[in-house]
């Protein structure tokens, strides 16, 4: 039996040491060992089970303040004698709860399905020498697993045996940290050392590569695996719109409470004057009730009477709008990528509108901006430029060129196994580039590198030393010895930045070493490598000594191919007022060239660099240097920059000075965790201010956690800007989770990002449409939906409130219970739902073309208090018009041509009819995109109202206690006066609205163009009504007119 102690310090939540019996061999009797309980390998991401769904879901739902409020109202109605029956609020509440429960149940079912897929994945377990196929969920700690090539490790394993001779195996952790290179893991052969390190650990989620199969013992399973631990804490994201809704809700709650208070107070004032009358005596119960209790129940009754002002159905409509609306993203064929045969994916529909509010975009580089696919573009040898394409033509190669190509073939860490594998994709690109020119790298066999040269001869070189790349030195070298002439040969490659076309440029240089020189270098290197202290510094010193007096041969240009339309996408996003930050784990040089290539940095962009390199300049301590640099950059970018107004920033900046900021991980951690607290705060502020004044920011050498830190920093900065993170690898998961909106790219690096994202798209270029078109539309739709809902309920309830002044504050409802209940559910819900799903106030093409339109809705523009006040004022105006219009009509209730009179239910029905028509027509006025669905729903709702009213009033309903509306509607329609007043009040209510639509300033500088474009290509009216809106002339000349 074997016993393992694993020590992984620092991993939160993981036990610091655990004892595992490999293969479940029983422990020796002499040792008192209680086998600890480890969890099994089941992954559970679902929230509910069949059994706990109902109670748990209900609990969760009633934790929402709105639902709880409605529950309370419902209970009050059940308990207290209230003017409206409990059904009026119970039915909508039941509806809301059911719809939400169905939606959440469906989403959880999807999670169950995904879990089951993972848990039922078959794995091979070795038990007593036999191999058994087992479900992944059944793996126990201590099981010995067999994993074959390209398989994913089902849990965290310690490598015991590999099919490779050297006892190693290769893994890619692409789905964990996004690094697609192959990493070497060693078998834990020297178990007696009792020290296992990360090099022995195979993490769940990683893939086995280049190794036929391995055996490993499960050490961490299920929810204890590193992967599972990393995913915990995915918190519910809430959109800015939802916060606005809650704020508005508070206002309305205040209105509601004050209305109820006013009415209660006035009721008692009124009662003191109008004592109980002979015709309307109190019941015995009322007389006996305690005065204060009575006041309280009166207050509650008023609350119940007016509670419709807080729209129950808004929540369900918002939920439905989000849920149904998100289908348009999945359905969009523009998001379909033929390569992976997939379209976009929506994981949370709660954030649709947030897509229209993004201010900061944090993007990963590798796999997101770039394809992570290096290509050798051109080289320059001895001053002559060779472009790919003409290189293949048989031209004479002189010595220098051959030397250059040979150097390319030698100086790398590429391994050849069914294609090339390397830790850096550009090495592969170089080797492949050399291949195109006739020099093929055949592989590395026991320290011998073989090259097939142009003459089809195999050249063999002995690889003596690899002087690895590091970002400070910025070069790598190899020392080789040619088998043929035994002369020593050192090739050095180093990076230098090419600003021109975003290529990654490497210079190639060489020098020959004499035997003595090599011997010395060899000795130095060995000594340095074995040094126990200051190994790094010593190595560096040796490297620097070796890499001198080199002879430059030429330079190569490698391009990390950008994603399709990356540059256009970035330009559009920046045009839309978003700031794009690149957060990458990659080297600065690579990242920088990408930034140039996709237009984030431009030629005239002044780069402000805060990296280890700049920090180490000047020979002072890093801390001091950091301080100085921060201040300097701050002065440059913030203080000297002209104060720019929001909204036109980009245009102004383009003409003025353009700054780009570069920071690397090490410097960032210095900024964020400076030694002294006040300094740290100050640095953070400075850093943020600099960044916010730069057009683009590049953060390189970022650990996944640092990416999240940056997102968090920006997210919590002043103004709480809406952030969006986009990435494709598992290393982006943390920032995807942290940002307001997380977008996953369905890239090559596994599905972790996609799983944790809120939305997933196949390619970066789809981001443009997702934000500029979908996001914009969703935001406009939902913002209008919210405002409209509050408005329509305000003008619904206001007449009821006003009626209290005329009915002795007796809580007499103005409308019949059926109308109260159906108003929000049936009569006015569908048009706004259709609007909020289909509205395109500007068509999609125009939105995509004019990215600046996105700025119009920035900063929650449509849910600002000003607009909210406008809608509230409109609601109040309408409510007043409805109520008093009918009130004056009823100063003589003899409204029929046979002299008969109308009663209170006719009064309510007239008000209600005006209300339903006005509210629906108001929406019709706001609708800019009339599809047949809109027509159907708007006119259908009105027709349904009329039909329902006839029907409801046409029968003596046996189950009703009161036949209040019996023939009230029909009688109303038989009165000419009622018709006239309905038409008058509808038109009077809509008049200011029409006037305002005409007079409103066109939004944004493109408004006119937009109207032009939207109607362009329309065969029916070539002279489209793009008559300069009067509005325009108004706004332009307003001072002279008004």
């Amino acid at each position: 039996w074997l016993r393992h102690f694993c020590n992984f310090g620092g991993d939160e939540g993981r036990v610091h040491s655990r004892t595992i019996y490999v293969g479940h061999k029983s422990c020796p009797p002499n040792e008192a060992y209680i086998p600890p309980k480890f969890c099994d390998n089941r992954i559970v991401s679902s929230k509910y089970t069949v059994w706990n769904f109902l109670p748990k879901n209900l609990f969760e739902q009633f934790r929402r303040i709105a639902n709880f409020y409605f529950l309370i109202i419902f209970l009050v109605q059940v308990i207290v004698d209230t003017p409206t029956s409990p059904v009026t609020s119970g039915l909508p509440l039941f509806f809301v709860i059911t719809v939400t429960a169905i939606k959440q149940g469906y989403e959880d079912w999807l999670r169950h399905k995904a879990d089951r897929e993972v848990n039922e994945y078959r794995v091979s377990v070795l038990e007593d020498g036999r191999r058994i196929r087992k479900m992944s969920a059944k793996i126990k700690v201590g099981d010995i697993l067999e994993v074959e090539e390209d398989e994913t490790f089902p849990c965290d394993l310690i490598l015991l045996q590999s099919s490779r001779d050297d006892g190693t195996c290769f893994v890619t952790t692409a789905s964990l940290d996004g690094e697609s290179n192959h990493k070497v893991r060693c078998t834990a052969t020297h178990l007696q050392l009792l020290s296992l390190g990360p090099e022995n650990l195979l993490l769940k989620g990683a893939n086995l590569k280049n190794t036929q199969k391995i055996c490993g013992v499960a050490v961490y399973t299920g929810m204890e695996t590193k992967m599972a631990l990393n995913y915990q804490g995915k918190s519910q994201k809430r959109s800015a719109v939802e916060k606005s809704i809650n704020a508005f809700l508070l206002v309305y709650l205040f209105i509601l409470v004050s209305k109820a208070l006013v009415c209660t107070t006035l009721k008692y004032v009124w009662q003191s004057k109008h004592d109980e009358t002979w015709y309307n005596e109190k019941t015995q119960k009322e007389k006996e009730t305690n005065q204060y209790l009575k006041m309280f129940t009166d207050f509650l009754s008023f609350m119940v009477l007016f509670n419709f002002i807080i729209p129950v159905s808004m929540y369900v409509t918002v939920e439905m709008q989000k849920f149904l609306g998100s289908f348009f993203i999945t359905w969009d064929k523009d998001f379909f990528d033929p390569e992976i045969q997939e379209g976009a994916l929506v994981n949370t529909s709660d954030l649709n509108e947030e897509l229209g509010q993004v201010e900061y975009i944090f993007t990963d580089k590798t796999g997101t901006l770039t394809q992570n696919n290096m290509e050798f573009i051109e080289c320059c040898i001895d001053g002559f430029q060779y472009k790919h394409g003409d290189g293949s033509s048989e031209t004479y190669f002189d010595k220098k060129e051959e030397l250059f190509l040979r150097a390319l073939c030698l100086c790398h860490t590429v391994q050849k196994e069914m294609g090339f594998i390397a830790s850096s994709p550009d090495e592969i690109a170089l080797v492949k580039g050399a291949m195109r020119y006739g020099f093929t790298f055949l592989g590395l066999e026991s320290k011998n590198m073989k090259i097939l040269n142009r003459n089809k001869d195999v050249e063999t070189y002995e690889l003596l030393h690899v002087l690895n790349f590091d970002p400070v030195r910025r070069r790598m070298s190899v020392m080789v010895r040619s088998k043929t002439d035994r002369r020593r040969f050192s090739v050095v490659t180093f990076f230098s930045l090419s600003v021109q076309e975003g290529y990654r440029t490497l210079c190639v240089a060489y020098k020959h070493l004499s035997a003595q020189e090599y011997a010395r270098a060899d000795a130095d290197l060995r000594e340095a490598r074995l040094a126990l202290q200051d190994r790094e510094e010593k190595l560096m010193a040796v490297y620097n000594r070796v890499e001198t007096d080199m002879i430059l041969i030429g330079a190569t240009a490698v391009e990390d191919q950008l994603q399709d339309e990356a540059a256009q996408t970035m330009e559009a996003l920046q045009g839309a007022g978003m700031k794009v930050w690149v957060l990458t784990g990659d080297k600065m040089e690579t990242a920088k060239s990408t930034c140039y290539a996709c237009g984030l940095f431009k030629k005239n962009t002044e780069l402000l660099e805060l990296t280890l390199r700049t920090l180490e300049d000047g020979g002072r301590s890093r801390e001091e240097r950091l301080h100085d640099l921060l201040l300097e950059y701050h002065k440059k970018a913030v203080q000297d920059a002209p104060p720019v107004k929001l909204g036109i920033t980009r245009l102004k900046l383009a003409s003025g000075h353009d700054y780009g900021f570069i920071i690397d991980g090490a410097s960032l951690s210095m900024v964020l965790s400076s030694s002294s607290e006040p300094n740290s705060r100050r640095y953070k502020n400075l850093f943020l201010q600099i960044c916010q004044n730069c057009t683009s920011v590049l953060c390189c050498r970022m650990a996944p956690l640092q990416k999240a830190q940056i997102v968090k920093l920006v997210k919590n900065s002043k103004g709480n800007p809406i952030t969006l993170s986009i990435g494709d690898g598992a290393n982006d998961v943390s920032m995807i989770l942290e940002a307001h909106v997380g977008i996953g790219i369905k890239g090559k690096e596994g599905r972790q990002a996609v799983k944790n994202s809120d939305y997933a798209i196949p390619k970066l270029k789809h981001l443009k449409k997702l934000l500029l078109a979908h996001g914009h539309l969703y935001y406009v739709r939902i913002a209008h939906l919210v405002q409209y809902f509050f408005y329509k309920n305000l003008c619904f309830i206001l007449p009821q409130f006003l009626y209290q002044f005329f009915c002795g504050y007796s809580q007499q409802p103005l409308y019949d219970a059926a109308y109260l209940t159906m108003y929000n559910i049936c009569f006015t819900s569908m048009p706004i739902l259709a609007y909020s799903l289909l509205e395109q106030h500007i068509c999609i093409e125009v939105l995509l073309e004019h990215s600046t339109l996105y700025r119009d809705i920035a900063k929650n523009a449509m849910l600002r208090w000003k607009l909210f006040l406008y809608w509230t004022a409109l609601g109040i105006f309408h409510g007043l018009v409805f109520f008093f219009g009918v009130r004056f009509l009823f100063s003589n209730p003899a409204l029929q041509d046979n002299g008969q009179v109308f009663g209170n239910w006719s009064y309510g029905t007239i008000v209600f009819t005006v209300l339903v028509f006005t509210v629906t027509l108001k929406l019709a006025l706001d609708t800019r995109h009339w599809t047949w669905i809109n027509h159907f729903v708007i006119w259908g709702s009105l027709a349904f109202y009329v039909f329902f009213s006839f029907f409801w009033g046409g029968i003596i309903w046996p189950f009703l206690k009161h036949q209040r509306l019996y023939f009230v509607f029909a009688n109303m329609l038989s009165s000419v006066s009622a018709w006239l007043v309905i038409i008058l009040l509808i038109i009077l209510s809509l008049l200011p609205e029409i006037l305002l639509v005409v007079l409103r300033k066109p939004r944004g500088p493109h408004a006119r163009q937009v109207t032009l474009n939207c109607t362009a290509g329309d065969p029916q009216s070539p002279q489209s009504p793009a008559r300069p809106l009067l509005t325009r002339t108004f706004s332009d000349e307003s001072n002279t007119v008004i």
Binding site: E281, G808, K961, L980, S1024, T1033
Partner: protein, 373 residues
């Protein structure tokens, strides 16, 4: 009215491409359907409201509303209405004594007469209303204090009325259920109004008041039904019930002269049961049919209103009125609609003119500004 454009976006390539595509696709083809709905490309009408398009609307509204308003106003003005307040608050008013001497248990009715003069003759049908002020028929406790199913003639509800009728559910002494129960029925307006015309020659003639046709047809014929079998005596049918406390006579004696107007289907009762919307209201009491000859229904001259004063309103500072009114197609006299229509129409017209001026003035300017572009 509105400038519009019908923007039929083509479902690009849908007709030709998709049919073949679907056939070749793998069974699990996730490519989204290229339908107009899913691609948000449904053909849509995109109205644009501009000054140019709204302008005619303003004029049209103005031009329609103003004549309607004038018509309404004139119609309303042509309606003749005469109101007599007979509450008896002032000491010199004829009903002062009746109002003050009122007791619930008085057996002898108090009668008072009010003289008034119509200066103009009332043509066509004249409608007599009684009006009450400061009477909260729309008080919640009052409104719900009724049992519609009892009034609909349901036998079980007759003997066992709804609890909503409290405290007018059962007779406190006999414990019998009250029919009709509830506060509304209990407070039925029970003044009797009679109208006499003092002919110029000194004789007085009684004006015929028709008591049928004052309630909604559907109320009279469907909503209100007497309980039991039609063949039986009405008194039999209401057996086992008590009269409302404040009533002088039981429900089956409301109009003994006309079986079609007795019991729950008594029109005065039905009219009262339709609760008024506002605390000051009027209800139709009687109709004075126009005469077959061309003489006015109510000639100008002196009239005497004889009131059997039963209904107390002083206790709640109420007022009682008798209103004589002719009726037009728009109902009773109410200048509000006419004024409102004229006002709204004028506003629209005025706005239209203002917009037109602005439109004309700046349209040309922006046109010329457009040319260089």
């Amino acid at each position: 009215m509105m400038a519009s454009s019908y923007n039929a976006k083509e479902e690009d390539g849908h007709h030709s491409g998709s049919s073949t595509h679907g056939g070749t696709g793998a069974p699990k083809n996730k490519k989204p359907d290229n339908t107009a709905f899913k691609q948000q490309r449904l053909p849509a009408w995109q109205p644009i409201l501009t000054a140019g398009t709204v302008l005619p609307a303003f004029f049209v509204i103005g031009l329609i509303f103003i004549p309607i308003g004038i018509g309404l106003y004139v119609t309303s003005n042509n309606i003749k209405e005469y109101e007599v307040d007979y509450t008896g608050v002032e000491p010199n008013s004829p009903c002062y004594d009746c109002a003050n001497s009122f007791t619930w248990n008085s057996t002898t009715p108090c009668v008072c007469t009010v003289n008034f003069t119509l200066t103009q003759p009332f043509e066509s049908n004249v409608y007599m209303y009684y009006g009450l002020s400061n009477f909260y028929q729309n008080h919640r406790r009052y409104v719900k204090s009724r049992d519609d199913s009892q009034l609909n003639g349901v036998q079980s509800s007759l003997t066992n009325p709804s609890k909503e009728c409290k405290p007018y559910l059962t007779n406190p002494e006999t414990k019998l259920p009250i029919a009709p129960c509830g506060a509304i029925a209990n407070s039925l307006f029970n003044d009797t109004l009679e109208l006499y015309y003092s002919q110029p020659d000194g004789n007085t003639s009684k004006v015929t008041l028709v008591k049928r046709g004052i309630a909604w047809y559907t109320d009279k014929n469907v909503k209100f039904r007497n309980p039991g079998n039609d063949k039986d005596n009405l008194t039999e049918r209401f057996k086992g019930t008590a009269k409302p406390v404040n009533w002088l006579k039981p429900v089956y004696e409301l109009d003994p002269s006309d079986p079609e107007n007795n019991g729950f289907i008594n029109e005065d009762f039905i009219v009262w049961m339709r609760t008024a919307a506002l605390p000051t209201f009027r209800k139709l009491y009687r109709i004075i049919q126009k005469k077959p000859d061309s003489t006015p229904t109510l000639a100008s001259g002196k009239y005497v209103l004889k009131i059997t004063y039963n209904y107390p309103v002083r206790s709640f500072d109420g007022r009682k009125r008798m209103i004589l009114s002719t009726i037009s197609w728009m109902g009773g006299k109410n200048p509000f609609l006419g004024i409102a229509y004229i006002t709204v129409g004028s506003i629209c017209f005025f706005l239209g003119v203002v917009l037109l001026i602005i439109h004309q003035k700046y349209d040309t300017r922006s046109n010329s500004a457009d040319i260089p572009n």
